[in-house]
Symmetry: C2
Subunit: 141 residues, 2 copies
């Protein structure tokens, strides 16, 4: 079951400047940085609020670290903005992805990959989701 908005993924050209914008404009100061080599991005997770399922909702700011990363290509086409949305699961992310695949939605990875803060993730094809690249997130237990 999907029990929360886990995060909103926002692509940007300059991670440090964008984090500073969110900090100085809105006061979001709970920030976690990491590099995801597999996805070709450097990212910051800004915690916005706790959620009723015992987890939290974040903004995920993502900056490409390679010109051939999917996010670099997306930025070249679209410019900065919302790249994807992510729902959190209360169980195994691949069980959730399999259930959704059974409803005719294409799942992007055959097996879960590593997401932010040790999570396990998969993605759903935006063309099957009314234009929204949608991520499923199982937080680190």
């Amino acid at each position: 079951m999907l029990t929360r908005i886990d995060h909103i993924g926002i692509a940007c050209h300059d991670l440090d400047a964008t984090v500073e914008f969110y900090r100085s404009t809105y006061g979001f100061t709970d920030v976690h940085f990491e590099v995801n080599e597999e996805q070709g991005v450097r990212e910051a997770m800004l915690k916005i609020n706790d959620t009723g399922d015992g987890a939290a909702s974040y903004l995920q700011l993502i900056e490409p670290i390679r010109d051939d990363s999917p996010v670099a290509k997306w930025l070249a086409k679209n410019g900065e903005g919302v790249h994807h949305i992510a729902f959190g699961t209360d169980g195994d992310v691949q069980d959730e992805a399999d259930g959704i695949a059974g409803k005719g939605v294409r799942v992007l990875y055959e097996a879960p990959r590593r997401g932010s803060m040790g999570s396990r993730i998969n993605f759903l094809h935006p063309k099957d989701c009314h234009g929204v690249l949608t991520e499923l997130v199982q937080k680190k237990s």
Copy 2:
């Protein structure tokens, strides 16, 4: 202060079909419909989770009801997808907007307008927010 992700606003061509996608694919069944004549949209609020500030996070699905509404123009240019993000305030929305305007971010309305479910809202210019059309929401008290 901004205390939650209030909603993610998603523009769509067919509201009923898109609500049905979110219901049947993910099981989101807590849905509120309304028409906002001023904004020129019909919309559905799908509740996703409770938030730590005593409110909730939603998906807001929006379908234009007039060809000259801003969302109709946005859809014609971009196709279906994430249109804006919204943060919830813990106080008066215009006080929050004024504070943000003082940091050099353009606020779109001189005074708050009516948002979903009786809320008071304002918007921040996406060009001042790293490409993200950003809404501020004071929920109905």
